[in-house]
């Protein structure tokens, strides 16, 4: 019987994969993509909780939509930043950027 637990664990796994990507990928775009993965994991949780606990309301879905909106904005700005950085340094390799070092 699939319940809330399964959905939440699925979300957690997705989130974990996202963290893994964020922490260990070198390419800035890949990091951004991993962040999207994490946001999706959160959305799954919202919708799953909405579905299993208060199915008579749609607030979880509402929040998921907000998350999607924010994610869209974030991707737009993030990619623009990456483009800008790329134009500046001809690289999207995060290891090259440590201007704020100690």
């Amino acid at each position: 019987m699939i319940g809330l637990n399964h959905y939440l664990i699925l979300g957690t796994c997705l989130f974990g994969i996202g963290i893994y990507g964020v922490l260990s990928k070198r390419n800035a775009i890949a990091v951004l993509m991993s962040v999207e993965l994490m946001l999706n994991a959160a959305n799954i949780n919202f919708v799953a909780v909405n579905h299993f606990i208060r199915p008579d309301q749609a607030i979880g879905q509402l929040f998921a939509i907000f998350v999607i909106v924010v994610a869209a904005a974030e991707v737009a700005v993030g990619l623009a930043l990456i483009l800008s950085i790329y134009r500046h340094a001809s690289s999207t390799n995060l290891n090259d950027f440590n201007l704020m070092k100690w």
């Binding site: 922490l23 260990s24 995060l94 290891n95 950027f97 440590n98 201007l99 704020m100 070092k101 100690w102």
Partner: protein, 625 residues
């Protein structure tokens, strides 16, 4: 008539007022300063004489006391008081008369000195403090004035502060005295803690039924440390000869007649404590006797006129302390009084000589002064005869009293020692006289007699040196002893044999000096060569100054250096090390901030993980429990 007594605080206040007036207003006018000081002193003297007359015409044993509160709290009370009994009356007389005469003498001696107004200001404050000490009614007050006279001594020894030697001597005097005062203060503290009161009369009353010797012995010894410092007893005697760096009138007043005698006076004042502890008494007597002999032996070979007198003073102070120690308090006080007169006479005479010789102090460079300076010479001889103990001058009577006391109390060893010192005293004094006043030196022929303002005090003191002894003369019934007597200090019948022996010893000393230095029957140069090693040791004062200098350099300055190193390297080093470690670890930690966003994210999620695990565990355990 008791108004005279209740107003006696004025005796102390007058010199202090003179000091204040000079310090605040008159320091630009040296003459005015000098006369103000002398006037104040004269009034004090007059008042003191009136009081002394009252005291000595009344029946013996009458005491006047008064006190104002100075420092008071539960468990501790120090008053500023006045205690007038025959003992303090005698001291009052001695101090005021000598101080007045010395101040008058200084008018001539110090004429033209640029620091004249400060000189008289210091003299005034000294007189005030000394009189305050004399009139003190309790140990707290006595300590206050005790230190103040020490300060004046410091200031006056270092009066010519442009000289390095004066600066060093002043410092040495103060610090050496401080060592004695350290013990003295501890003794006072012990009394304060023991009895909660420092008043002499109160303490005397309490001590009559307090017989715990284990407590009293240390207290007595500690208290004795004060006189050891102030009266320059061995081993704290080193400052007094150096104190001769001060102007000669100062040496006469402070370092011969009054301040150095304060220690003896204190022994007399606190006689009720010391006499209760026989062991302490014996130690005091031995210290005094030893100092007497020790200083006299040094005086035998010194060539500086003031230093001879200084060692003579040491020796005589030792005599007085010995007298106190054997219980002959009356005799000690008697000797204190006579000594004050003839020793200040001798110092002022020496000052007159130095004044005439433009600062020359080597007796071998003087000579033939008797012709040029008759008044100085003959008053000096009178002083020397008195000191040597030739009858019927004052020194004879007082010295005889002491020897009699030692003899009749069974201290035969001390008696012998005292007699030996009497002999040596006569010898070195007349060595001085024959060499400096009648010798063959050449410089003396250019000398001239001092002005009357200097010779008159000499004459007055000479007169006092002659007659002052009669008040204690057993032939005239020993009036002195009748008034100044401590309970438990029995009076002794006069002993003709002792008188004769001591007179003969003194005469022998003079005769020997005459043979060696006047007739030159025995060559003093040959003596010097034959006993070269002894001569060297005596001439270098047993190398005690050198020893002390070495001890101070090794122990005091050595530990200072070691502890400074500890402070800089260990205490400060720890602090700085801690600071350095903080900086270092901060530096190390800063390397974790490597500028890589992913590293920061790693820390972030690591932190989340820790919190999460902590929360899960917490929930797990609380739910389980």
């Amino acid at each position: 008539m008791f108004d005279l007594f209740s107003g006696s605080w004025i005796i102390v206040a007058l010199p202090f007022a003179a000091f204040a007036a000079i310090g605040l207003f008159l320091h630009r006018w040296p003459k005015a300063a000098a006369y103000t000081s002398i006037l104040a002193m004269a009034l004090s003297t007059l008042w003191s004489i009136l009081i002394a007359i009252q005291v000595f015409t009344a029946a013996p044993g009458q005491v006047f006391t008064a006190a104002v509160r100075w420092l008071e709290m539960p468990g501790l009370r120090v008053d500023m008081g006045i205690l007038i009994d025959p003992l303090s009356a005698v001291m009052l007389l001695v101090v005021t008369i000598v101080a007045l005469l010395v101040q008058i003498y200084s008018l001539g001696y110090m004429e033209g000195d640029p620091g004249l107004s400060s000189y008289f200001a210091y003299h005034s404050i000294f007189a005030g403090s000394m009189l305050g000490l004399v009139l003190s009614s309790n140990f707290g007050q006595v300590f206050v004035f005790w230190e103040l006279v020490g300060l004046c001594s410091y200031l006056l020894i270092g009066f010519w502060f442009g000289r390095d030697s004066a600066k060093e001597a002043a410092k040495k005097a103060f610090i050496t005295n401080r060592v004695g005062d350290f013990g003295f203060l501890l003794g006072i503290l012990a009394l304060a803690v023991l009895f909660g009161n420092l008043d002499y009369q109160h303490l005397a009353m309490r001590l009559t039924d307090y017989h715990n010797l284990a407590v009293l012995l240390p207290i007595a010894l500690l208290l004795f440390a004060g006189p050891v410092g102030k009266s320059a007893q061995f081993p704290l005697h080193v400052w007094l000869p150096d104190a001769m760096e001060g102007p000669t009138p100062v040496s006469a007043l402070i370092h011969a007649a009054t301040m150095v005698a304060a220690g003896v006076y204190l022994l007399a004042r606190a006689f009720f404590i010391f006499s209760a502890v026989p062991q302490a008494m014996y130690l005091i007597a031995v210290v005094g006797g030893f100092t007497a002999l020790f200083a006299a032996s040094i005086a035998l070979v010194q060539i500086d006129i003031k230093r001879i007198l200084a060692y003579s003073t040491l020796s005589q102070l030792g005599y007085m302390v010995m007298a106190m120690g054997i219980g002959a308090m009356t005799a000690g006080m008697f000797h204190l009084m006579t000594h004050a007169f003839f020793k200040s006479l001798l110092f002022l005479g020496a000052g007159s000589v130095i004044h005439a010789m433009h600062g020359e102090q080597d007796i071998w460079k003087m000579g033939r002064l008797s012709a040029k300076m008759p008044v100085t010479t003959w008053t000096f001889v009178i002083g020397a005869l008195a000191l040597a103990g030739i009858p019927p001058l004052s020194g004879f009577w007082s010295k005889d009293e002491i020897l009699l006391g030692a003899f009749s109390r069974g201290h035969l060893f001390l008696y012998g020692l005292g007699s030996l010192v009497a002999f040596m005293t006569a010898f070195y004094m007349f060595r001085l006289i024959f060499v400096a006043f009648f010798g063959s030196g050449t410089k003396g022929s250019h000398a001239h007699e001092s002005p009357p303002v200097m010779t008159w005090p000499l004459l007055i003191l000479a007169l006092l040196s002659v007659v002052a002894g009669f008040v204690g003369s057993p032939l005239l019934g020993n009036v002195f002893g009748k008034y100044i007597n401590a309970p438990g200090a029995a009076h002794h019948e006069m002993n003709i044999a002792i008188m004769v022996v001591s007179s003969l010893l003194a005469a022998g000393g003079i005769f020997l000096a005459w043979l060696i230095y006047q007739k030159e029957v025995i060559s003093h140069l040959e003596l010097k060569q034959r006993f070269a090693s002894v001569y060297e040791i005596l001439y270098h004062k047993y190398y005690i100054d050198e020893l002390y200098a070495r001890l101070v350099a090794v122990f005091i300055d050595g530990s200072a250096r070691v502890l400074e190193w500890v402070d800089l390297k260990i205490v400060n080093g720890l602090v700085n090390g801690l600071a350095y470690f903080t900086g270092w670890s901060g530096k190390q930690l800063s390397y974790t901030e490597n500028g890589q966003v992913q590293t920061y994210a790693l820390y972030l999620f690591g932190g989340v993980l820790v919190i999460l695990v902590g929360a899960v565990l917490a929930v797990y355990y609380t739910v389980l429990a």
